[in-house]
């Protein structure tokens, strides 16, 4: 599939590369004012609302799945650990790239390392994201060590795996929720549909939902594009877990709105109400209704549809928190400039490209060579063929 054919997506990618390069020059030569629609009244836009808030959320599959496989010992999910960890690792790297665009002085991105302010949520997020990206690089490092036959390093990595996974789950719990805590400081600016003391809880729960939905989505796409057998029993099992988590999230979200008496605001109308309803329908109502139907949750297409809907719903949620909910207080509407959109799309495109390259050159789907974390074999196999299908 990676031969030099001209396909629709390659043309799109080429256009994005060209436009993205121009947008990048504009951003770093003429500054944020010329390359974004950000203003003093609206200082955070698409790059924070989508690239960072959604980017981190969409990379949540890494910690949910590693916890399931390595801590809860649900070994049947092992075949999809590598692609999921790769997605998470790429996701976090791309978030860092986006931050370099958004930060006014990206070359100082390392400052939180030495200039501390432990009272700041942003400080905590910065540290967690940095540490978790390091953890992911070590979790993913096993694939590289295996590919290049660095067995000593591989053995070392496997010895560290359980502590690494535990650290990864803790760090993710902290910063996924803290991205919500960032907005706790704006009680007078964020619209009451979204401002709640429960923001960190809701951000964490939705990250778990998205982690599951993203794993279903990605496994389905991989099955389609990398000619890989779809692990249907696994996907079904993830679908059931997703249903449970969506229900938990929805109950917390609804109870919170109820107790804060925010539901009465629905009568006010306005674009906030529209986008709020869109978010709730996509993230909660539709996927739950779909997944409640046994025929849908037993069917690859049904599972794919439900996961895509909930992904769109939670993306809408993050954009609502980051953008929609802040507009009224800012007294102005914000719509991203083309450069902001192009940079965002180019970053996503780059992510897909690197993923495809990794699948081509690294043992992403040949997970079989990873032994049990507690059993380190004397001799590691150099090449192990499709064992997993036998194993699982």
């Amino acid at each position: 599939m990676l031969k030099g054919k001209v396909t629709f997506w390659r043309v799109v990618f080429a256009i994005l590369v060209v436009l993205g390069a121009y947008a990048t020059v504009l951003r770093f030569v003429r500054g944020l004012g010329a390359s974004t629609h950000l203003t003093d009244a609206f200082p955070w836009g698409l790059w924070i609302g989508f690239d960072v808030l959604c980017g981190v959320m969409l990379a949540a599959g890494g910690f949910t799945l590693t916890a399931a496989v390595y801590l809860f010992n649900l070994k049947k999910f092992k075949p999809i650990v590598r692609p999921t960890v790769l997605t998470a690792f790429l996701g976090y790297l791309l978030v860092c790239v986006a931050l370099l665009f958004d930060l006014g002085r990206g070359y100082r991105i390392w400052h939180p390392l030495v200039m501390w302010n432990p009272r700041s949520v942003m400080f905590e997020v910065a540290w967690c994201v940095m540490l978790y990206t390091s953890v992911l690089s070590l979790e993913f490092g096993g694939v590289l060590f295996e590919r290049f036959h660095l067995f000593k390093l591989l053995r070392l990595q496997r010895m560290m795996l359980i502590p690494l996974v535990i650290a990864g789950v803790m760090l993710s719990t902290l910063h996924q929720s803290s991205l919500g805590s960032l907005y706790l400081i704006v009680p007078n600016k964020l619209h009451p549909f979204w401002y709640t003391p429960l923001l960190p809880v809701l951000f964490f729960l939705s990250a778990v939902c998205v982690g599951l939905a993203m794993t279903i989505f990605e496994s389905s796409l991989s099955a389609k594009h990398f000619g890989k057998q779809l692990e249907l029993p696994l996907i079904k099992s993830l679908g059931r877990t997703l249903l449970v988590m969506l229900c938990v999230y929805s109950v917390v979200r609804f109870e919170d709105l109820l107790h804060r008496k925010a539901l009465g605001l629905l009568r006010n109308g306005g674009w906030e109400t529209g986008l709020f309803l869109l978010e709730i329908s996509l993230a909660c109502v539709l996927p739950i209704l779909l997944l409640l139907v046994p025929k849908v949750r037993e069917n690859p297409k049904g599972l794919y549809l439900a996961s895509v809907l909930s992904l769109l719903g939670f993306v809408t949620n993050r954009l609502n928190v980051g953008i929609t909910g802040m507009e009224a207080a800012a007294g102005q509407q914000y719509f991203p400039k083309w450069t902001e959109i192009v940079v965002t799309l180019a970053i996503i495109g780059f992510g897909f490209f690197v993923f495809a390259m990794a699948v081509k050159y690294l043992p992403i789907f040949s997970h079989e060579a990873v032994p049990e974390p507690i059993v380190v074999p004397e001799v590691l196999p150099r090449e192990v063929p499709e064992l997993s299908n036998v194993e699982s």
Binding site: F28, V29, R30, G31, L32, G33, A34, L38, T39, D40, A41, P43, W44, A67, Y70, L71, F72, N73, L74, K75, K76, D102, L103, G104, R105, G106, R108, I109, H111, P112, M115, N117, P118, R119, S120, V121, M122, F123, E124, V125, A126, I162, I166, V169, M170, T173, L174, S178, S181, L182, L184, I185, V186, P187, N188, K189, P200, M326, I374, S392
Partner: protein, 252 residues
């Protein structure tokens, strides 16, 4: 000890000499066109707003417990004992969380620069250190902007409210807003008219995030032990099976 500014809008004649003095003090451009601009910006740290010939200044409130100082990931903002909230530009990474978080939306950004910084009034911190009043208070011809000890200014504001029966809105803006600010305002028309939020909590905002952040060390300890325990419990049955020479129990 802590200095403050008392601005009494009823004494203000809208001459904008404070704007000009501020620009000069901070090395900013100032001309007729800039004088006409009715908003704070990266080149205008203070502005005299005119709504139907009622005046109101806007400047950094220099909060007692500043939100900007609490949110900044690199600690670029600091409340000094003299009163001013100062910004150490060499630390700033440009995340603009201060602009998002400030309840008064004071910090402004140099959007047109390749390597921008945040800009705001620093209550003439250098002048205060040499025992001088702020530039805006020094130049004010009518005494509308008055500099002094914050406690003295509060007493004076209360006195003016008591004496000027009905002349004022019965509120000292900045006395209690978000835990109090170094800048205090008196006005004859509602503060909302000039974009001042009147629904602000009397408690300083940083506690909203700090009460969550302060639980993190506990959460890390509990979480790490709990997850380690889950790993041990969930993997033990296989170890037992292996030791007893049985096949591993069926996979979950």
């Amino acid at each position: 000890m802590s200095k403050g500014i008392l601005y009494d809008a009823t004494l203000c004649i809208g001459c904008k000499m404070c704007e000009q003095a501020c620009a000069e003090k901070h090395g900013l451009p100032y001309d007729e066109n800039i004088a006409k601009e009715q908003k704070q910006s990266e080149h205008k740290y203070t502005v005299v707003l005119n709504r139907d010939d009622k005046f109101m200044r806007r400047l950094c409130m220099n909060c007692q417990d500043p939100t900007c100082a609490s949110v900044c990931p690199v600690g670029a903002f600091r409340k000094t004992t003299l009163g001013p909230v100062v910004y150490e530009s060499s630390r700033c990474i440009g995340c603009r969380y201060c602009m998002m978080a400030c309840p008064f939306s004071v910090p402004k950004y140099e959007w047109d620069k390749t390597w921008p910084l945040v800009r705001k009034c620093d209550m003439c911190t250098e002048r205060l250190q040499s025992g001088l009043p702020t530039a805006c208070a020094e130049i004010c011809p009518t005494g509308a902007t008055k500099f002094g000890e914050r406690d003295d200014l509060i007493a004076e504001a209360k006195d003016r409210l008591a004496k000027g029966q009905g002349q004022y809105v019965n509120h000292i803006y900045g006395l209690e807003e978000v835990g109090g600010t170094s800048v205090l305002l008196l006005s004859s028309v509602p503060f909302e008219n000039f974009g001042y939020k009147c629904d602000l909590s009397t408690e300083a905002l940083p506690f909203l995030t700090y009460r969550v952040l302060s639980h993190i060390p506990d959460l890390v300890a509990i979480g790490a032990v709990g997850l380690g325990g889950i790993w041990w419990l969930c993997n033990r049955k296989e170890e037992v099976a292996a030791a007893e020479g049985r096949p591993a129990p069926s996979k979950a």
